[in-house]
Amino acid sequence: MKAKKLAALALGLGTACMTVAGLGMAASAEEGKKEVVIWDYFETDAQKQMMQTLIDGFNESQDEFTASHTYVPFADYEKQLTLGIASGQLPDLVILDGCGMASFIQLGLFGDISDADINWDEYIAGPLESTMMDGKHYGIPFATNCTALYYNKDLFDAAGIDYPNEETTWDDFREMAKALTKDGVFGFGNAATNTDEGTFQCLQWLYTAGGSYTDIESGVDAYTLMQEMIEEGSWTKECVNWTQSDVNNNFMAGNIAMQQNGPWQIPGIEANAPDLNYGVTVLPKRNADAGQATSILGGENMGVVNKEDMSGAKAFLQYYDQTDVMVEAMKLYGSYPPKTEAAKDSYWTDDPIQKAFLTQIETSIPRGPSALWPSYSSAIQTGFQEVMTSAKTPEQAAADTQAAVDAIG
């Protein structure tokens, strides 16, 4: 009897499930809207909320398309895209790290959308350039940011030294870091792990020293600074295995007095270390006569996957192209809108920390853009690791990295 009842229950449940599934299908078919699927790698609650707000806003703004998004873990992201190109299982829109876009344009993932109704000339040049190839547009910048210098005010006060500011030079910075290094605290730390995440943070030192991603030897001063500070113990050697979240965790825990990091860490600091008394300023400049330090642009682009019908993806880009939509999304996201005017919203300009990042963005440059960027990145980061672990002298590492970089191009 009991068994019979159970069987009946199971059968009933099964039928119910099928009915619900059937209804679901009927519902989406009934509306007759075209689907726009977006891939992203957003993990935090704030980021997920931002995506949902954007999608809801887009779906309500018109009745031709329904957008939805799929989360793909960041560690697998580029692999999934590559496999997707081979298998043809791809979304309509992809949100991806700006520096990877050139490779994927070359790989044929994205379609030419130069005819879309977008206000191209309102965008900041660096991020926009990373969505283009040979004068054609393949998407638009989604968010833009860069790294700057965070400092722990309490540790500076305890050591009795002034906070770093826009006039701080490498020499000043080195003295500060030295004075702050005591009682298990390191003066400074950044992310120098063996991936592009490390390159993203280390490369700015090379540019500030006068080098570039193809001209390593002109930036050899950066190598010297890193090696000497690590040998002094004021720049933690641990950073050769640190990702950007490792750096931020150590900054929040008070293990490092200064960190190089981006604005996306601010929500995390507010949630996990609300009492942390910190400030942010631009990265130290080469010397008193030099201009503001160069930083490296980070942030995401939205690329339109190459399909016969790209109308849905274009409609979504046009929706996002509206300055107020962009500004609202970026407030939730913790990055800056990639339009010059949009970033002048008082939400950012009235906050000294946010303002420091906006000042730093003015002298920030993109990585590459080059379809071969991953190979450059790998060669360049090996050079930084050789210097930081004292495996080679700065001069030797510069010569070897230069040779490795020359062999790529």
Binding site: T82, K237, N241, P374, Q385
Partner: protein
Amino acid sequence: MKRKRKLAGGAKMGFLFALPAAVYMLVFIGYPMIQNLILSFKNVDVFSFAQPQNQKFIGFQNYIELFTSSNSILTKSIINTLIFTVGSIFFQFIIGFGLALLFNKKFPGCSFFRGMTMISWLLPVTVAGLLFKFMFASSGGIINQFLMALNLIDAPMEWLLKPSTAMVAIVIANIWIGIPFNMMLLITGLTTIPADIYESCSLDGANKVQTLFKITIPMIKPAIMSVLTLGFVYTFKVFDLVWVMTKGGPINSTELVSTYAYRLSFEEFQFSKGAAAANVLFLILLVVGIFYIKLINEEEESM
């Protein structure tokens, strides 16, 4: 006459039984392998991936470049993989064999502790990798704390930050993971030795060491050879542990052939070179595999 026909029918049935396995092998192993081989002789990279008309056969050029180009670290990664494998297997086997002998004795709580040692084998490798990454951290890592408390070292060791010690650290992590595998296979071997053999040799006056080297080891030689060859194959293609702990760094000192092939294909989009590196890995393991099959056949013939 009748007997012959029966045999032929049996052979037919045999083929029929082998068919599903053969089809499976062809589709899921044969096809990707051949595709990979073809890919490794082409020039598919970031520029030609989307343009099939530009994909050309370039013979052994990928292999030559992998072995000779100054930007290639294939040779280094093969040496690293060999060090990693031999270092891991040597200690895994010795410790695993010791534990097998221990747990082969019956003592109170024996099966409980034997079960406990399996934990390191059951734990997902990525989790184990993360745990070891924390344990080997220079500041605050438990291994440094422990060594300093015992006054074995004065200052924290930079385990994962120095090329030489990073390799030691990943080998230690892999030894911990692999011990139960060695132990279980060897225990299975030990249980096949009849108790009366031990009885008779103790009557003959053999001591423990003599029993170990003259009776136990020769008797479980097939199990030992299986453990060593299978262990070699498993260790040689380890990927996740190293990817989690060091990503091949610092300065490529822990780059294995598997991580290098992945890096080439999925990070640098050099698909053909990545395929070639994977084939080099395959070739090395093929040699080991043939050796293993030959070994098993010899054992079966001698039985």
